[in-house]
Amino acid sequence: MRGPRLVVNLVLLVVAVLFVAPLLWLVTASFDTHGGLAAKVPGEATLGNFGQILNWEVGGRPLVNGLLISSGTAIIAVVVAVLAAYPLSRFQLRFRRPFLYTILFTTGLPVTAIMVPVYGLFVRLSLVDSLWGTTVFLAATALPMAIWMCKNFMDGIPISLEEAAWVDGASSLQALRSIVLPLMAPGVAVVGIFTFITAWGNFFVPFVLLLDPDKMPASVGIFSFFGQNGLVAYGQLAAYSILYTAPVLGLYLVVSRWLGGGFSMAGAVKA
């Protein structure tokens, strides 16, 4: 069995190299004074690219705005999705499957398709240029996947535990909070991270729904490094990309460590 084992290890290493290769450029260019498009050891190493972007206007406020929007989105989506998942998981509802599939279909539509009516709606609700409004909208668009995943995680928790609690006189909500939630905490974390990451990368929604440049998140800010009639500052773009990626990567690492080394999707995806 040594032969196949070696082959498998080799395949895995090749895949790892291929996956990491596009990322190398981000690192090398960010430390290079004259960064081009190819990954190479910086001829003239520098921290200048980071120095250029580490100020409140460029590297500070947009990240804070992004954190506010994305964590708000994740919290709202998780709370609402867990609530919705409860009846969908625990009751025999005739419309359950059509409901789940219908909301899932909508994830196939790029959000650009609905931004015109959404903008009109935001005007009517006086939510244009509101961080709250943008956050709630992002949470709503994240709900289909969040509900789907939460429902499946909840299905994995035996109902017998709650039944015992009901016998002791607990209400459904109490049972959900004290028994189901702690057991599906890893699942909730996965849904939260998934939602956070999606919101963190979303450019078009905050760009359209916010007006004040001081409220724009990092996903919009990064576009200022793409020149239109001038040269792109590759070094700064790469440095900013790293700064902008660090929070999601950090969050992912912390949570997956907390989950015991695995970012488990166990049960998240079932029919």
């Binding site: 290890n9 395949v11 895995l12 290493l13 895949v15 790892a16 996956f19 990491v20 290769a21 596009p22 990322l23 190398l24 450029w25 981000l26 081009g36 498009l37 190819a38 990954a39 709370v79 609530l83 919705a84 409860y86 599939y101 899932l104 909508t106 994830t107 196939g108 539509l109 790029p110 650009t112 398709a113 015109v116 009516p117 009109g120 709606l121 709630v136 949470a139 709503a140 709900l143 996947m145 509900i147 789907w148 990368g201 450019f203 996903s219 990064i222 773009l237 990626t245 999601v248 990567l249 992912y252 080394g261 695995g262 488990s264 999707m265 049960g267 998240a268 995806v269 079932k270 029919a271």
Partner: protein, 281 residues
């Protein structure tokens, strides 16, 4: 009883997702525009937008490109590589699992713009890939010579983590005594996978396919940064065509009709998957 917990989702989804989509159904039958006279007075134009769409070679080619993109990058690429990685990683050492897992997931957690620009730089004529291939005299501008391949590879790179994580979870739930029994019977690894493991995780496969298909149908930013739909519109999938019509030319009505075509395409894919689930069970 079941309503109160569902109410917040119904309100949020109704207000911010279903409502705007319904508006799209209405707008698709008008000549609504971002500017010009029809911005002030949009007119009902019946099914004009749809007849234009279905007789337009643009929509036909975009529809075809979208199907190709979904089949190659999601169904074959992400799904196939995801299951392969999950299986291969099953009994590896912690170190290898950690390295491969982290690297694959890293591409997935990257913000879309960063991922898109990183892969743009990688595939560019002056990029890393060509530097390396240049040593073997094989350098070329991939984004130009093989644009569809480039965006497909980019989407596989970006999205495989999701399938891998899903299959890792599913495989961990396959009873090990079943596999061992098959091994005792003398079944090789391939047969064991085909006859023992696959039937157990079949539902996960189908559902995963449905999720990644829907996610891939809506891919916009990645392609937009890589090729902007070119060259010669060879990578202009439906989301790019829709964006072009609705925001570049301000033709909201027509752009929305294209979005609906996309929605129908998603429904068709999903129905196929759901059917196959019912047939199996």
């Amino acid at each position: 009883m079941w309503l109160p917990p569902l109410a917040p989702s119904i309100v949020l989804l109704g207000l911010f997702v279903a409502g705007p989509i319904l508006w799209c159904f209405y707008a698709a039958f008008t000549n609504s525009a971002l500017s010009g006279i029809s911005a002030r007075r949009p007119k009902f134009v019946g099914i004009d937008n749809f007849t234009t769409a279905f007789t337009s070679s643009d929509v036909a080619s975009s529809l075809w490109l979208t199907v190709v993109f979904v089949l190659l990058s999601a169904v074959v690429g992400q799904n196939g590589l995801g299951i392969l990685l999950a299986v291969f990683l099953q009994q590896r050492g912690k170190l290898l699992r950690g390295i491969v897992g982290t690297v694959v997931v890293a591409a997935w957690v990257l913000p879309e713009v960063v991922a898109a620009f990183a892969i743009y730089a990688f595939l560019n004529a002056q990029g890393t890939l060509n530097e390396v291939l240049g040593w073997f005299g094989m350098g070329q501008n991939w984004l130009y010579t093989a644009p569809m391949l480039a965006v497909v590879l980019a989407n596989i790179w970006r999205g495989t983590a999701f399938s891998m994580l899903v299959y890792q979870a599913a495989l961990s739930e396959v009873p090990s005594d079943l596999v061992e029994a098959a091994q005792v019977d003398g079944a090789g690894p391939l047969r064991r996978f085909w006859h023992v493991v696959l039937p157990v995780i079949r539902r996960t496969v189908v559902t995963n396919l449905m999720l990644i298909t829907l996610q891939t149908l809506g891919v916009f930013g990645l392609i937009y940064v890589l090729t902007a739909g070119g060259p010669d519109n060879k990578t202009r999938t439906l989301p790019l065509l829709m964006y072009e019509q609705a925001f570049k030319f301000g033709q909201i009505g027509y752009g929305t009709a294209i979005a609906l075509v996309l929605l129908v395409l998603g429904a068709v894919f999903s129905l196929v998957y759901i059917r196959s689930l019912k047939a199996e069970v």
